[in-house]
């Protein structure tokens, strides 16, 4: 019994002291998939000896979960760096006063449209929205080519989209509201609902549904598509709207938190994430992210960014629009 008592006390001691280890460390919250972000953060740890303490978002609450946690912790921050998988969330955090400005020397080669003019966040490696098609269920000549194919009655009940309250789907939908205007975008959402949209909890789930033949096609990010292809699933990727609207490009974004417990190590991590090393790792990983630094070669499976037709959106405007349409989207999801 004495041994049990000593054992319990030792365990408790380890548990408490592990959480309070002093020294070089940095706390990062990231909404980028763990399978892709973790190797990059481990590489930083290996190169600098700075311990990285990570918190990841779950797939179902992608992006929004950590943003709301950062807002809740605003007066007593626990996090140093937020690595977002899109620039919208950091723009929202900037507007709410959660971020501190930091201009990294590594950001010099990042094109200006992917950086906050006041230095609150900086973009790096990005993804595009794609259509994932089950090639066993759809002949190649009938592949959907754009987002408005979801309104076509021939696909009734055969396509999927992730919940537009979360993740990159929320970014995509908010961008449609900016590009098309509110009326057309609302009509579009009502139209796809009438056409039997299958609403998934996440892009990963959409990809799995397509791969398993539960639906014929769905909208996902290119990393979800490549994951299924690497698993050998019968799927193919179509880059949508190359004759019209263009596809949405979504860079990652990194920002320093105001009042961060470890600001100096936080800045070092930001420098690393914006460096060619990190962009190259993300380009070579299964996610095939497209680098923004012109010195880093893009993944061979995706056409260069310059040859793609992209949706022309202003991230700050989309961020504002997203907040504006949130009540509508919540209602739309609740009534689906």
């Amino acid at each position: 019994m004495k041994r049990w008592f000593l054992f319990s006390v030792a365990l408790l001691f380890i548990l408490v002291t592990c959480g309070k280890r002093e020294g070089m460390e940095v706390v990062v919250y990231t909404s980028t998939d763990q399978v892709f972000s973790e190797p990059v953060l481990k590489e930083f740890e290996k190169r600098t000896g700075i311990k990285v303490r990570m918190v990841f978002d779950t797939e179902e609450t992608k992006s929004t979960g950590l943003v709301n946690r950062l807002l809740a912790e605003k007066d007593s921050p626990k996090c140093d760096v937020f690595w977002s998988n899109d620039p919208l969330r950091v723009e929202i955090l900037k507007q709410k006063g959660v971020l501190a400005p930091y201009r990294s020397p590594q950001a010099a080669k990042i094109p200006p449209q992917f950086k906050d003019p006041e230095g609150y966040w900086t973009g790096f490696s990005g993804r595009i929205r794609v259509i994932l098609v089950n090639k066993e269920l759809v002949p190649r000549e009938e592949y959907p080519q754009g987002i408005e194919d979801m309104l076509d009655p021939r696909w009734k009940g055969q396509f999927a989209l992730a919940n537009p309250l979360f993740g990159t789907t929320s970014f995509h939908v908010a961008s449609l509201f900016v590009v098309w205007g509110d009326e057309k975008a609302r009509e579009f959402l009502e139209g796809i609902r009438r056409n039997g949209l299958k609403l998934a909890s996440s892009n990963g789930e959409v990809a799995r549904w397509v791969a398993l033949g539960k639906v014929k096609f769905g909208f996902v990010d290119n990393d979800d598509a490549f994951s299924m292809m690497e698993e050998g699933r019968p799927v193919e990727m179509v880059i949508p709207d190359q004759d019209g609207l263009g596809t949405l490009f979504m860079p990652n974004a990194v920002a320093l938190i105001k009042g961060a417990p470890h600001p100096e190590t936080g800045k070092k991590l930001i420098d690393f994430l914006l460096s060619p090393v990190a962009e190259e790792m993300l380009a070579k990983a299964t996610c095939r992210q497209i680098p923004l630094n012109p010195d880093v070669p893009p993944p061979p499976e995706i056409p260069p960014l310059s040859s793609l037709r992209l949706m022309q959106v202003d991230y700050a405007q989309v961020a504002r629009k997203m907040e504006e349409i949130l009540p509508f989207l919540r209602r739309w999801v609740a009534e689906r």
């Binding site: 019994m1 004495k2 049990w4 008592f5 054992f7 319990s8 365990l11 408790l12 380890i14 548990l15 408490v16 592990c18 959480g19 309070k20 706390v27 990062v28 919250y29 998939d33 763990q34 399978v35 892709f36 311990k51 990285v52 303490r53 990570m54 918190v55 990841f56 978002d57 779950t58 797939e59 179902e60 609450t61 929004t64 979960g65 709301n68 809740a72 912790e73 626990k78 996090c79 309250l165 979360f166 909890s201 990963g204 789930e205 799995r208 549904w209 398993l212 033949g213 539960k214 990393d223 979800d224 994951s227 690497e230 698993e231 299964t286 996610c287 999801v333 609740a334 009534e335 689906r336």
Partner: protein, 497 residues
């Protein structure tokens, strides 16, 4: 001893009373009728009830049948059947969902990714609870009762009228637990794309950090938990636990086609609910690359899991033992109620309640491993406490009184007289609290500290965009870690029993 008693009461107040008060208070104070007009919410509630009911029904049927066959028939390899029908408990349910999703062809996947698929997976994970309830109940019936009945009635009638009636409270107790576990399960429905109420609460909270909204959404879950809690308390009061099983039990010989049918049935259940999914996981994890990736990505998380689970289990077991010996009967009764109530509150709701509580009480706890530890203690202190308390009540007081009269101190009495007699129950409680803590997803996902992710959460977050082989290897790593420690506890617990 006053200091020790104070410490025991502080544990009770901080880790058991406050969380229950926070959850109940926050839920009832944020009640909103608006939720009842939301179609998605009502559908999720209805779906959760349907899944929990069907799972309970099927798991009770399978578990009772297997338990009766294994206990009451002379069959080849009895111990093997016991092991095969216990092992599913040591796997995280969504590991099996992962395995089935890999195995089934596209035609069946529509069925799997549906409420029926959730019922199927959960039935396979939870039927061992009823199986063991039946085995324990059957082994504790005094054989004289059945022997007397057999003199005047055929075996079939004795079984239906006497044996089944005697095991009914045990099976009921296990069924209620299954209903609760199935109702509050997050991992399997989320993985299979089925929107259920706990998933809705998790999303409402984790996505929007909307505490009032999440607590309001929790109301039906809390209400149902309270109803089940009262039902379980009633069932528990009817249980008559034996310190040791009856020395003899009645067994029957099955011959011919009956024997073959029973063996086939037991084997089919084991194949369907254990061997096939575990076989798929082993097959998927069998290439070196997956194993290497799983070890490099999972070892640190496995250590975190072991640390959390061992700390929570040993504190809960130690506190239970000390409380039973040092606190008065009234306090012990109160503890029994509160631990059961905390155990019945679903983990997602408990996690939201703890953030609500500790976010206000202490910034030193919020965002640290202590918050997760507090959650595990709140939910699982019940397991060692309840077992130990049933055994403690049956202790022969004469040994304790004799030691006290001869001047032995309270701690010495506990260590030399009480603990050796309760050792088996101590380790059983420790083991159960450990297994449940290792596999706890809801608390882990919502409360883990930065850099301190448990393996069960890592498996969940990595299941997206992760090669299936690596996920399968991680799942096996988690179960292996659990089984190694469980074997150790069992050996220690039974060493001198």
């Amino acid at each position: 001893m006053r200091g020790l008693r104070l410490l025991l009461r502080a544990y009770f107040l901080l880790f058991l009373v406050l969380p229950a008060v926070a959850v109940l208070g926050a839920t009832f104070s944020h009640l909103s009728a608006k939720l009842l007009t939301e179609r998605v919410y009502l559908e999720a509630l209805f779906r959760s009830l349907l899944i929990a009911s069907l799972t309970t029904l099927l798991a009770t049927l399978f578990g009772t049948a297997c338990g009766v066959f294994v206990s009451r028939l002379i069959l080849p390899g009895r111990n093997l059947w016991l092991i095969l029908h216990t092992l599913p408990l040591f796997f995280v349910p969504y590991q099996f969902a992962l395995a089935w999703s890999v195995l089934l062809p596209a035609g069946f996947s529509k069925l799997l990714f549906s409420p029926l698929g959730v019922v199927f997976v959960l039935t396979g994970c939870f039927y061992p609870l009823v199986f063991w309830a039946a085995v324990v109940a059957l082994s504790s019936i005094p054989p004289e009762e059945e022997e007397s009945a057999l003199l005047v009635a055929p075996p079939r009638e004795v079984f239906l009228r006497l044996t089944l009636r005697r095991i009914r409270p045990y099976v009921w107790g296990a069924s209620l637990l299954i209903f609760l576990f199935a109702f509050s399960e997050v991992g399997v429905p989320t993985y299979l794309g089925v929107n259920v109420l706990p998933g809705e609460i998790l999303t409402r909270f984790a996505a929007f950090y909307d505490l009032p909204g999440a607590m309001a959404a929790s109301f039906p879950v809390v209400l149902l938990s309270l109803i089940l809690f009262l039902a379980e308390k009633r069932v528990f009061s009817r249980l008559r636990f034996q310190e040791r099983p009856a020395e003899r039990v009645i067994v029957f010989r099955a011959e011919g086609w009956r024997r073959v049918s029973v063996v086939l049935f037991l084997a089919s259940v084991a194949v369907l609910f254990l061997l096939v999914p575990v076989g798929v996981l082993i097959y998927e994890a069998s290439d070196l690359k997956s194993l290497h990736l799983a070890l490099s990505r999972g070892t640190e998380s496995l250590l975190h899991s072991l640390l959390y689970a061992l700390t929570a289990a040993s504190l809960a077991a130690g506190w239970s033992l000390l409380s039973l010996h040092f606190l008065g009967r009234r306090e012990r009764d109160l503890i029994s109620w509160v631990t059961l109530l905390d155990f019945f509150l679903p983990s997602v709701v408990m996690a939201v309640g703890l953030i609500f509580l500790w976010g206000r009480l202490s910034a030193a706890v919020y965002g640290t491993a202590l918050l997760l530890l507090a959650g595990l203690l709140a939910r699982f202190s019940f397991l060692p406490y309840q077992g130990l308390s049933l055994a403690y009540e049956r202790l022969d007081p004469s040994g304790i009184e004799a030691a006290q009269l001869s001047g032995a101190g309270e701690l010495r009495v506990l260590a030399r007289i009480v603990y050796p007699q309760l050792r088996r129950w101590f380790y059983l409680g420790l083991m159960l609290a450990f297994v449940f803590s290792m596999n706890e997803l809801g608390l882990g996902a919502m409360l883990y500290p930065p850099g301190g992710e448990p393996l069960v959460v890592r498996l969940y977050t990595l299941s997206v965009n992760n090669p299936v082989g690596v996920s399968a290897a991680l799942a096996l790593l988690n179960s292996l870690g659990t089984l190694v420690l469980v074997t150790f506890f069992l050996r220690r617990g039974l060493a001198r029993a």
